[in-house]
Amino acid sequence: MSDHREFEAEREKIDFLLEKGYVIKGVTENLSGAFLEFEYKGNEHDQPGKERLHILHPDSRKYFSTILVQQQKKQGVK
């Protein structure tokens, strides 16, 4: 798999959770890459849930953090 395809695969996993309504509750970065903690609060149809993604690719780490920065800007998080 080319480097870029690795990124695409990880981006799809992130997008999948975000589209289902999960939010990133935390980011832990260490020697192995980034670990994203996702949480879904649930609604009348779906149960709450938690997911964890291990992100390896540098472009994926840029990808989720770009989303994080933009969302926080919109929400006025300081």
Partner: protein, 428 residues
Amino acid sequence: MADLSLNLAGIKSPNPFWLASAPPTNSGYQVQRAFEAGWGGAVWKTLGEPILNVSSRFAAVDFNGKNVAGFNNIELITDRPLEVNLKEIYETKKKYPNHAIIASLMVEPTQEKWHEIVKKVEDVGVDGLELNFGCPHGMAERGMGAASGQVPELVEKQTMWAKEVAQTPVIVKLTPNITDITFTAEAAVNGGADAVSMINTINSLAGVDLDSWDTVPNVAGKGAHGGYCGPAVKPIALNMVAECARHPKINVPISGMGGVSSWREAVEFMLMGATGVQVCTAAMHHGFSIVEDMIEGLDNYLEDKGMDSVMDIVGKSVEKYSDWGNLDLNHQVVAKINNEVCINCNKCHIACEDTSHQCIDMLKDAEGNDILKVREEDCVGCNLCSIVCPVDGAIDMVEYANGKPPMTWNERQAAIGAASSCDVNLIK
């Protein structure tokens, strides 16, 4: 013609090109020759207690057929009595009143010594003083030059002592042989410096002879470290000038030097915050007449830019220089290979395959010709292929519009910190 005249902390010269304190400014004869050739100013070879020099003093580093890519010297400050130098300074200044003569000074780090030399030198009408806290060899072993220039407290104190009696602007010349030059530059400012200059030479050993195993240069088979300068040191010097120029507490003019060989480097230094430049190695390599091309090139550049005065370019690039953490992580450039220009030497493919990100493929076009193609999605924009390419126009690095908003490392880390410490409702 644009106005090339310079004003550095009150020191005026007809153009921004000064000879640095070094062998080219050893005597009145040389400095007068330089002024005749067109140099705007000269920093007289460092005055102090006359020293003794060794024979076999210079060495050059050639690289790939280019002579004097770097230059190394183990010559010390002036070996002539102060009175001889002062007489020649007086005569030169009288003959060239509109040119800048700055006296470079180096004495033992005591108040009395600084007071004594400053008073004596100013009596002959110099336009300014440059305190030599930079020479890395010989004098440093005696507690002067770089030895005192590496200690911020000594820089501040000696600057203060010079300033206590100086009537002319005091420039403090800094050594690059230190981890962070802004520490000593700030110390100079705290001591009252009117300007700082940088860089002095870098500790160096030019080479070792593979047959004799002697160092290059050597004195009767024995060597000692020298000071390195010339084109090879320009990037180091330019960064140090830029770091000082953007430092909020270093709010005095900077005289830039280190590898200035043509008007181009001069403009680079000035854009990065230098108010004028000093030159040595290029003059030693090619003679004083190089200043003619420097003046003409600078004038043409200013005319092309529609600028009236050289002072207007000082510092124009400083705001474009920052910390790595403020760079946009989402900015993207990719390599584009122009196969009509490419000679298929494959240097780019080899460089990318062996030492970068393996994104240049060797393919055949429809006619069966060898072509090279970049997989843009895998190209990280490192520039290596365009750097190693021997043909102009064969590889361009072009901006790739990825549609992503700017994001710096600092913004990213702040966002991750905030995500971990508060309940961020993150929805794509």
